[in-house]
């Protein structure tokens, strides 16, 4: 099927690198347009209140300030629709593209100032005078759940949505279980933080009545349709252009207020307008993520077999429901149990509104949090029951013979009621991971004090549901110079898409990779496209390119046969030439005159692929400083089929380090007034080059996906998923002799230090191995019925 090339599976060096390494990438901030104005945005300085007045006279008086746009200039202010899970009831909590009176979070846009330079636009923002009425803020989800202060009075509630995940009969399972344990856990608010802040450059062509917006990413086609509707234009009159994108991780490229405001401003003043977000803005404007806490229970047999899990989870959603804001709570309800066989499950997730920046997806949305909760529960049960951590997981992983395995049913579910693990052997990957790590040897280190630090190890398993549908488009065209142009509806957000798509196309076409050129992510290329979310580009976009390349080969054969005579099946395609049996040939360049072009669409009917893996880690904890050093971290995953081992490995290592940031340092801290205290990169800490130098990743391709022709499964989100739970369990095991309960992230130095400092006196300095806590008197609320 595939030609004689071997690009797929090879560590092909990236095409993109050549321009990036020379400083020739074209990010949106690098672009200028003739006559362009610069935009700066006045944002709410308070968490909750009302705008009584906005005086723009002083701002307008600044030479070089050209216009000020607020709600009044816009007229009927549109709200931003949900891209995913637009469930009934959510329409009450959508974000208006600009504040219309009520202010609900620090950072909410109030006015746009347009000026001759960015500095002048910022001067203009500084000169705007706001008259505000402050309201008491809803500072956290507990206050929200009391419904005393409401963000939307008309709705009568702060509860944006409740999801329930159900499998079997949890109540019965818990009633009869010999062992149950209940705990509370919490994951802090953090964010994707791509290194390039957002930016947009909008150009309005008044004669053609066309809008062009540069700086698109992730889902340009959905955003084009959304913007067109808001501006009262036909989708065909709006083009969204994707340039180089400095990282996405789920957050960039969703439809934000600015995605309306900047194009609107360009049309309003009849000049191109560019807006570049600064970092402080970014930290209050771009989606936050992850904040959730829970009270959950596990029920087991005495041998560790899990009988059930149940409980209640609360998501602090922020001030509005944004485009993909419900994915995290949905996933927490549906995928709480990850790769484990939990026959009875009942998980209720309540997403509550607070006066904070709205949240959305960040790499492994909901799964990172769910994995932390679930792995902590399993670890505590293993300790209580006197089982080795690895053995506990071994006993409970979904077996290869149980595939496909249905996960919990979701209520309300919309299109995503049911999902199932598609294929694979989860245990195989766990064993490989344990063997590479030498688990049995390292177990002897558990809880030991060596050279002043306590050592701990842990293991976790995960699944990554990826490649969300419904479909993806590709077009392939033979060009007059004999190259093939590949247009894909997938979007690039820095993940190496061009190279991966070129690998698939050139292998299928049997052409050298430098004769294939990939174009992506911009709406003029194709009629429809779906974009880059849920690790779907290789799965769906790659499959569309593969199908398109096969059809193009047929067309080339047909055209050559028509010109050279003989049946198409006798035409051989080698090295960019079409050849008959008797040796007459035409080059692809000659054939291009026939206008050879195919449009392909790959559909997977919304069937997710499930990549799966295991991770192990070894940490050393210094109780003098609260510092945790990650001495070894290994993740092994089976991705079905590897297209580019170089980029795949990069995704794995990068994902793990992001996950470690979430486990140890990243934290968006708000005070009681709803003010963000971590508004710079000096306060919001992410990992640096010296923090986590020892991470290993292994990718396997033992079980190709049955649902697409390439056999690939989505990759890129998996390795981040287990990191929080894994680190908490490793630290918990290291400090077991102190009765440490690392049930909250991040495991900041202060928090870890307290685990030692606040331990009961008799435990201090005791160099003990973790003793199984085997009765109800132990920490937490476990009980073993004898």
């Amino acid at each position: 099927m595939i030609g004689t090339n071997r690009y797929i599976g090879s560590p092909v060096e990236r095409i993109e690198d050549l321009r990036f390494l020379r400083g020739r990438g074209e990010f949106v901030g690098d672009l200028k347009s003739q006559g362009m104005l610069h935009a700066a945005i006045l944002r709410s300085p308070i968490a909750h209140g009302r705008i009584r007045g906005l005086d723009s006279a002083a701002a307008r008086a600044i030479p070089g300030v050209r216009d000020v746009i607020a709600a009044a200039e816009i007229g009927a202010v549109p709200t931003i629709p949900l891209r995913l899970l637009p469930l009934p009831g959510t329409e009450r909590f959508l974000q208006p593209v600009i504040a219309t009176g009520r202010l609900r979070y620090v950072g909410e846009p109030i006015a746009v100032v347009l000026a001759d330079s960015a500095a002048l636009a910022e001067d203009g923002v500084g000169a705007l005078i706001l008259d505000l009425e402050e309201l008491p803020p809803v500072a956290d989800r507990r206050a929200s759940g009391r419904h005393e202060i409401l963000l939307f009075e008309e709705s009568g509630t702060n509860l944006a949505m409740t999801f329930t995940g159900v499998l079997g009969d949890a109540e019965a399972a818990f009633r009869d279980a010999p062992y149950v344990r209940r705990e509370c856990f919490e994951v802090q608010r953090h964010t994707a933080l791509p290194m390039e802040p957002r930016g947009l450059l909008a150009e309005w062509d008044s004669t053609q009545q066309r809008m062009t917006v540069l700086g698109a990413a992730k889902v340009p086609f959905f955003n084009r349709d959304t913007l067109a509707a808001m501006l009262g234009l036909a989708p065909a009159s709006v083009d969204l252009i994707e340039n180089d994108v400095g990282g996405g991780f789920g957050a960039r490229g969703e439809f934000y207020p600015e995605d309306f405001l900047i194009p609107f401003a360009a049309r309003h003043v009849g000049r191109p307008v560019r807006w570049l977000e600064d970092r402080r803005e970014h930290l209050t404007a771009m989606n936050h993520a992850r904040q959730a806490d829970c009270e959950v229970e596990i029920a087991c047999r005495r041998d560790g077999t899990i009988l059930g899990m149940r409980g209640e989870i609360f998501v602090d959603l922020g001030a509005y429901v944004r485009t993909n804001g419900l994915i995290q709570p949905r996933t927490l309800a549906q995928c709480f149990s990850g790769p484990y066989r939990v026959p009875n499950l009942h998980m209720v997730v309540r997403a509550l509104l607070t006066n904070k920046t709205p949240s959305g997806t960040y790499r492994g949305p909901g799964r990172y949090e769910a994995s932390f909760f679930c792995e902590r529960l399993i670890e505590l049960a293993a300790v209580d029951l006197g089982l080795d951590s690895a053995e506990m997981r071994r006993r409970n992983l979904i077996g290869a013979a149980e595939m496909p395995y249905k996960l919990a049913r979701l209520e309300p579910g919309g299109a995503a009621v049911d999902t199932e693990c598609d294929s694979g052997d989860y245990g195989e990957v766990l064993e490989r991971c344990l063997a590479e790590f030498a688990w049995e040897e390292k177990r002897t280190l558990q809880g030991r004090l060596i050279d002043g630090r306590y050592h701990g190890i842990a293991v976790a398993c995960f699944i990554e549901g990826a490649g969300a549908g419904p479909k993806e488009a590709a077009r392939l065209e033979l060009e007059p110079d004999g190259t093939v142009a590949v247009y894909v509806g997938s979007a690039a957000v820095g993940q190496g898409l061009e190279t991966v798509m070129a690998q698939v196309a050139s292998d299928t076409l049997g052409m050298p990779i430098d004769l294939v050129r990939v174009f992506h992510g911009s709406t003029p290329y194709l009629n429809e496209g779906y974009g880059a979310f849920a690790s779907r580009s290789t799965v769906l976009g790659g499959s569309a390119v593969y199908e398109g390349a096969k059809s193009l080969l047929e067309k080339i054969r047909g055209a050559a046969a028509a010109r050279l005579g003989g049946p198409p099946d006798d035409i051989e395609l080698v090295d960019g030439r079409a050849r008959t049996r008797d040796g007459r040939s035409l080059s692809f360049a000659d054939l291009a005159a026939d206008g050879l072009r195919v449009d392909a669409m790959f559909q997977n009917n919304n069937k997710l692929t499930y990549t799966y893996g295991s991770a192990v880690a070894h940490v050393a904890v210094d109780l003098g400083t609260g510092q945790v050093e990650v001495l070894d971290f290994l993740v092994v995953e089976d991705v079905g089929r590897i297209v580019n081992p170089l980029t795949l490995h990069g995704q794995a290592i990068g994902g793990v380090v992001q996950g470690l940031g979430g486990a140890f340092m990243e934290n968006l801290v708000y005070d009681a007034n709803g003010q963000l205290l971590t508004g710079t990169l000096a306060d919001y800490l992410i990992p640096t080059a010296s923090d986590f130098p020892r991470i290993r990743a292994i990718a396997l391709e033992n079980h190709p996906s049955p649902s697409n022709p390439l056999g690939v499964k989505g990759a890129g989100e998996g390795p981040i998923i287990p990191v929080g739970g894994l680190m908490a369990n490793a630290v918990g095991n290291a400090l077991a002799s102190f009765g440490a309960m690392p049930n909250q992230l991040p495991l900041s130095p202060a928090r870890v230090w307290r685990m030692g400092a606040e331990a009961p006196m008799e435990n201090l300095g005791k160099n003990a191995r973790a003793e199984p806590v085997s009765d109800a008197a132990g920490p937490g609320r476990s009980q073993i019925r004898r």
Binding site: P11, E13, R14, E16, D17, L18, R19, F20, L21, R22, G23, R24, G25, E26, F27, G29, D30, A119, A192, L193, P194, M195, E196, P197, D244, V245, G246, G247, F249, D278, R279, V493, G494, Q495, G496, L646, T647, H649, G650, Q651, I653, G654, G655, V656, V657, Q658, T680, L681, A682, I686, P687, T688, A689, S690, D691, F692, P693, I695
Partner: protein, 158 residues
């Protein structure tokens, strides 16, 4: 105000407002957009350029301060024909994904290896810890810089 300096070997004259920082001057006035801005408050290192041999954050320096200096940006590292050994090592080790932090990583590492071609892994990590990357997890970047050391040693022994 008028400022004169050398940019990648070529003398330039620019007229700037006193409040303009060097990165804006390079990017907007001179259209050398390889130097990126990730924070504009000295925390991310994306804007690192080499001023008279030292790696400097162009967002923390005013354009008017570089009068008479010699500045190298990412655009000045390689020729049209070939990547430098450091750039080649970055590509080989997949030390970049989105490429946004890359110019700052390259200039920082270039300045380091020019002074200390024998820098070890710890030293490289310590110096690069002032440059944030959200994609790679840093490990391939450190590997690439380690790998490029040989080329800096050779060019040292003239």
């Amino acid at each position: 105000m008028q400022v004169n300096f050398k940019l990648n070997g070529t003398p330039v004259v620019v007229d700037v407002e006193p409040r303009m920082h060097l990165a804006d001057c390079l990017r907007d006035e001179l259209r050398q957009t390889g130097t990126h801005l990730g924070c504009e408050h000295g925390a991310c290192g994306a804007c690192t350029v080499i001023v008279d041999g030292a790696a400097v954050r162009a967002c923390l320096m005013l354009a008017v301060q570089v009068e008479g200096s010699s500045i190298v940006t990412v655009e000045g590292l390689s020729t049209e024909e070939a990547l430098t050994p450091l750039q080649t090592a970055f590509r080989k080790h997949h030390a970049l994904q989105c490429g946004f932090c890359t110019p700052g990583m390259l200039t920082t590492a270039h300045a380091l290896l020019t002074d200390e071609p024998d820098a070890d892994g710890d030293r490289i990590r310590a110096v690069l810890s002032g440059n944030l990357c959200r994609c790679t997890g840093y490990i391939p970047i450190v590997d690439a810089v380690l790998d490029a050391r040989a080329a800096y040693r050779k060019s040292d022994k003239r």
